[in-house]
Amino acid sequence: MNGLTSGFGAWNPIAWALLFVGILVVSFIVRARGNKSYKRGSGQTKVFLSGNEEPADADSLHVRGDHLYWGMIDGLSAYYRRVKAWHTGIFSDYVAWFVGVLAVVIVILVWVG
């Protein structure tokens, strides 16, 4: 490829595509060799929740969007407090950021140029 100075090496997309196809084939073989004698709808197909009873309400089994990374986001709360404070949704704040950047850019260009 007329772009990479180091070449693709292990990142060759064709190799990765073949890898994905291989994984799919292996997954299919494993699935095909599975036990077909289970009884659908019986206790054999119940979701295992660390030994707890499966809730009657299917909705409560689903991990919702905001719950997935709550630990990481909580850990970054100091960062998020500041960044969310920028995003007020108020139009005059949008303009203030714009004018601020404009001033800094012009000062740099006039000073350096």
Partner: protein
């Protein structure tokens, strides 16, 4: 065909512009007639963009000048001044951008036919859609700064109308107002800069201006105005706040076209930096300004995406972060170009291109990512429209289990998401890999931020996918299904682009990305020469 190719620059603007005015009238004859007309227009436009690209890339990306009416362009005329004519100048970069716009407009229009099937207001919607298309093509093909401003304004008006199109939603009205006001501010700064340059040099043509600009005080102020105005319209942090509002509130197919609109502003910025000001102005500071804005855009965009629970705003912040990758690629290229010129002179750029200097590689990555981003983000916005319609909500906290009954939509969404996050073997990986490698050579810190943010973006889309598609079947999802064929085909077309460009990146980099990158890297003199002759 030759006549079509010859007149392609003006037809790419005139045909959608006429279509925009015809749509409300033809719409009176019925939806089928209107959709047929719009379909023919976008197909014709795609054909023209392809013909133009074949012509320009066949000539190695060298600039060609088109005079309105197709007359033979000669210079100098008596008096030695640039004539009052409408000139279009198309080089590898313009033709490349034309292809991106054609791809998004074609798929967006076809998707819109089904998306607006059961809604009223389609005539006005398609009118604004085609107006936006004409404006975007105009920005990419014009060789005149004032015409660039006119087309910029056309895109602003059309985009604001499309964002606020659903007037029955108060959020839509608010977003439309914000977009209109911010775009107007951007347009005013661009106009002020053009006025300053005209007052200083007496020209509006890009080539003649580029030949006159010498980096004086007025030039640098104009450069600052242009840089900030266009970077804001592209959605660079910290001037990006309008973008999630706009992308989030616009109808799904419009959001995809708005990304193409932002990329047109980015194209304008690159044209200003490399061609209008180019090698004559100290570009090291420019490159680093772009790099700093890029890093902010990448990191803030992706971290803000991580905490969104509105699906469209999540994708919108993801799209903002990708604008940062394009700016990083081009910023590194600009900074490297300046250092080569400072150490060895302008003539060394040609040698550097032959030796595949990392500055050129970085430019290739940034430019290639524009196309890849358009395909991936376009696909994600289309899929989001399908998901929101099926689930009746945009809130990821209230979705779940859609994958049981929307298999194809979930596969398309997953492919768009992993491609945008830069997972091999998809197209996003190919362009990001170029950016990682080249930016590492300027500073490892840049590559670290870029890679880390790609990982975070993957986490963002894992969250969105798991929240929307995974989970048990519920009563709420019992009635949902994949959309009609009219919406599936555009999504499948973008998936095809993602896979083909991902599996064979070398072919596309060689044939369309490299001529576009070289048009910026080496094209300053050739762009001027195409208008002014052997200067």
């Amino acid at each position: 065909m030759t006549a079509l190719t010859t007149h392609a620059p003006v037809l790419l603007i005139a045909v959608p512009l006429l279509g925009a005015f015809a749509a409300p009238l033809v719409g009176k004859l019925g939806r089928g007639v209107r959709n047929t007309l719009i379909g023919l227009i976008v197909l014709f436009v795609a054909l023209l963009a392809a013909l133009l690209a074949v012509d320009v890339f066949g000539a190695g990306g060298a600039p060609t000048v088109y005079e309105l009416g197709g007359g033979t362009f000669t210079f100098p005329l008596s008096g030695g001044q640039i004539p009052v004519r409408i000139l279009f100048e198309v080089d590898g970069m313009s033709a490349f951008m034309g292809l991106i716009t054609a791809l998004i407009v074609l798929t967006g229009a076809v998707f819109s036919f089904s998306y607006w099937k059961e809604r009223s207001g389609g005539n006005l919607y398609f009118s604004l859609f085609l107006l936006l298309t004409a404006g975007i093509f105009g920005m990419q093909l014009t060789g005149d700064m004032f015409n660039f401003f006119v087309f910029l304004e056309i895109t602003s008006i059309a985009a604001a109308g499309l964002v606020g199109f659903r007037v029955w939603l108060k959020q839509s009205q608010e977003a439309g107002f914000k977009v209109m006001a911010m775009y107007t501010l951007s347009g005013l700064l661009v106009l002020l800069a053009i006025g300053l340059l005209y007052g200083q040099h007496g020209h509006l043509n890009i080539a003649t201006l580029a030949n006159s600009i010498n980096g004086g005080l007025v030039d640098m102020i104009a450069l600052g105005l242009l840089l900030t105005g266009l970077a804001m319209k592209a959605g660079a942090v910290p001037m990006h706040m309008w973008a999630p509002d706009a992308y989030g509130e616009a109808p799904a197919p419009t959001s995809a076209v708005l990304v193409a609109n932002s990329q047109a502003s980015l194209y304008g910025l690159f044209r200003v930096l490399f061609t209008l000001f180019g090698v004559g102005v100290s570009a090291s500071a420019l490159g680093w300004i772009l790099i700093v804005l890029a890093l902010l855009t990448i990191f803030v965009g992706v971290t803000m995406a991580l905490i969104q629970h509105d699906l469209k705003r999540l994708i919108a912040y993801g799209a903002v972060s990708q604008i940062g990758y394009m700016m990083l690629g081009v910023g590194v290229g600009l900074a490297r170009q300046a250092s080569i010129i400072a150490s060895s002179g302008v003539d060394a750029l040609s040698d550097a291109a032959t030796k595949l200097d990392f500055g050129l590689v970085s430019l290739q990555g940034g430019i290639f990512h524009m196309l890849n981003d358009a395909a991936c983000v376009g696909l994600l916005f289309f899929a989001s429209g399908v998901i929101i319609r099926a689930s009746g909500t945009r809130d990821l906290n209230r979705m779940g289990g859609l994958g049981h009954r929307m298999m194809w939509t979930s596969i398309f969404f997953a492919i768009g998401a992993v491609a945008l996050a830069g997972v091999p073997p998809f197209n996003g990986f190919a362009s990001k890999y170029l950016i990682y490698e080249a930016s590492f050579q300027l500073s490892p810190f840049l590559a670290v931020i870029a890679v880390l943010s790609s990982i975070l973006l993957l986490a963002v889309f894992v969250k969105a996918f798991q929240a929307a598609f995974l989970g048990p079947k519920t009563d709420a999802t019992a009635h949902v299904s994949d959309p009609s064929i009219g919406m599936m085909v555009p999504m499948a077309a973008l998936v095809l682009v993602i896979i083909v460009f991902g599996l064979f990146p070398g072919f596309f980099v060689d044939h369309i990305v490299t001529p576009a990158a070289k048009a910026l890297w080496l094209g300053h003199k050739a762009y001027i020469g195409a208008v002014l002759g052997g200067i």
